[in-house]
Subunit: 240 residues, 2 copies
C-alpha cells in the first residue's frame, strides 16, 4: 500500500486516545497583588468548582495549540494577551474523572486594565489573588498547575523582564520592581534592579517614553517594552 492509499483509509478513531485539552494560566498584577483568571465550571466534571480557562481544540477553527488557548482566553478577556508561553503538558489516568486525559498548559500575562471591563462582563470569570487560592475549590489538578506556573514566572523574575507584561503598556520602574518582589516573595535592592534596567535601556529593549507619572511626589519616568525585550535573559540571575 502506498502512502496515499494509507491516508485514505486512515481512521483517527481506531485506537483509544486520551481526552485532550488546552488550558490557559493568565496572570495579571492589580492593586499590588498578583491575580489569576479563573472560571466557574458550569459543566461536569467538577461542576461548580473553579478552573483555568481552557477547553478542547476545535479542529476546524484552530491551526495550532496556541490558537486554541488564545481563543479560550479571548472569550473571557476580550483580548489576545501580549505574552503567551507554553508551561508544560500534564497527562495521566487520574487527573480527570472521565479517564486518561492530557492538558497542554500555557502561561499568559496581561495588563489588568486591558481586560477589566470584559472580565467584569463575563459572569463566570473572575480574577483571584494568588494568596487567596487556598479558600477556593479548584477543579482537576489546577491548583498544582497554578503553583507550577507561578514558580516558572518567579524564575522569569530572576533572569528576565517578562513579568512586565502583567503591567500596562507604560509603567514605572518602581511598579515593575514591585511585581518582581511579589513574585520572589522578598525585596530586591533598588540599585541592582535599576542597573539591570539601564542595561536593557542601553540595549534598546526598554524604552523611555518621555512621559511621567503625576501625583504628590516626584514624577517617575514611564517606560515601555521593546518587542524583543521578551527574549532577553540576563547572564546573571538576581539572588534568592
Amino acid at each position: 500500500m502506498n502512502e496515499q492509499a494509507y491516508l485514505k483509509t486512515y481512521d483517527p478513531k481506531a485506537f483509544a486516545s486520551p481526552i485532550f485539552s488546552v488550558d490557559g494560566l493568565l496572570f495579571t498584577y492589580h492593586q499590588k497583588q498578583l491575580k489569576v483568571l479563573l472560571v466557574e465550571r458550569s459543566n461536569h466534571p467538577d461542576k461548580g468548582k473553579w478552573g483555568l480557562p481552557g477547553g478542547f481544540v476545535d479542529l476546524d477553527v484552530d491551526d495550532n495549540l496556541e490558537d486554541t488557548v488564545v481563543r479560550k482566553l479571548r472569550e473571557k478577556t476580550g483580548v489576545r494577551p501580549p505574552y503567551i508561553e507554553q508551561l508544560s503538558t500534564i497527562g495521566n489516568r487520574s487527573r480527570d474523572k472521565r479517564g486518561w486525559s492530557v492538558t497542554v498548559c500555557y502561561t499568559a500575562l496581561v495588563a489588568h486594565q486591558d481586560c477589566e471591563t470584559h472580565v467584569d462582563s463575563v459572569s463566570d470569570a473572575r480574577w483571584v489573588e494568588l494568596d487567596k487560592l487556598a479558600d477556593l475549590k479548584l477543579a482537576f489538578d489546577h491548583r498544582e498547575i497554578i503553583e507550577a506556573g507561578r514558580e516558572a514566572l518567579k524564575q522569569r523574575a530572576l533572569d528576565s523582564i517578562v513579568p512586565a507584561y502583567t503591567l500596562p503598556d507604560k509603567f514605572t520602574l518602581s511598579e515593575l520592581q514591585h511585581v518582581h518582589e511579589v513574585l520572589l516573595g522578598k525585596p530586591i535592592q533598588k540599585t541592582s534592579f535599576r542597573r539591570r534596567m539601564s542595561r536593557l535601556e542601553e540595549a534598546g529593549l526598554l524604552i523611555d517614553t518621555g512621559k511621567f507619572t503625576a501625583g504628590p511626589r516626584r514624577p517617575a519616568v514611564l517606560y515601555t517594552l521593546s518587542p524583543s525585550a521578551v527574549d532577553h535573559i540576563f547572564v546573571r540571575n538576581l539572588e534568592l
Copy 2:
C-alpha cells in the same frame, strides 16, 4: 444530572480530537560527538524516513506521559534513561499528513555504553551524530524538534551539570568539559569549569569516587553524580 450519571454516559469519542503521540529525543555522547537516537519508520506516513522513537499512549499500560516515553525508549535501548525531562508540546494541523496532530516531546540522556549492545540489536534504530543530520531524510517536524532539544540542552550546559547524563556513571572532569564544549560550540576556560565543579563537590552534588583513569598520562579523578545534582542551577551562567 449529577456527576455520576454524567460520567456514565460520557463518550470520549463524541468530539473529534487531535492525533496524540509522545516522542523521545534521546541524546548520548560517544567518540567525542553528540548523537541522537533515530528510528527508521516502517509504517506510513513518512515510511522509510528517520524519526524520533515514540508513539501512542497505551491507556491500559501507561499511567502517565512519562511512562509512555520510557516504554518507547526502553524498546529501543533496553534501559530507562537516567535523565528525562519534558521539552515541549507541538500541535498543529500541518505536521502530520493524517491530520491535526499533537506530540509531547521529552528530552532524555543516556550513557552510550549502557545501551550500545541493545541498540545494535534493534535493526531499525541507530545513533546519528548531530552534525550528520543534514544528510538524512527526517519524518514530520522531527528535524526542528531535535534542533529545539539541542538548544535546550545547550542552555543546560550553561547553567547546570545535566549534560553529564550523556556520560557513563563514572566520568572525568575533562570528559564532561568536552561534552559542554560540544554543546556550546566553543571552548570553555578550564579554570572556570573546574571552579564550578569544585563548588558542586563541596555541596555534595558531585562525588569523587577515589578512582582514576589509567593510560600514558597523568591519571584523572573519576567523579560520579549525586542524584540531587540534576536539580542544581548555577546562579551565574557560563558566557557565550
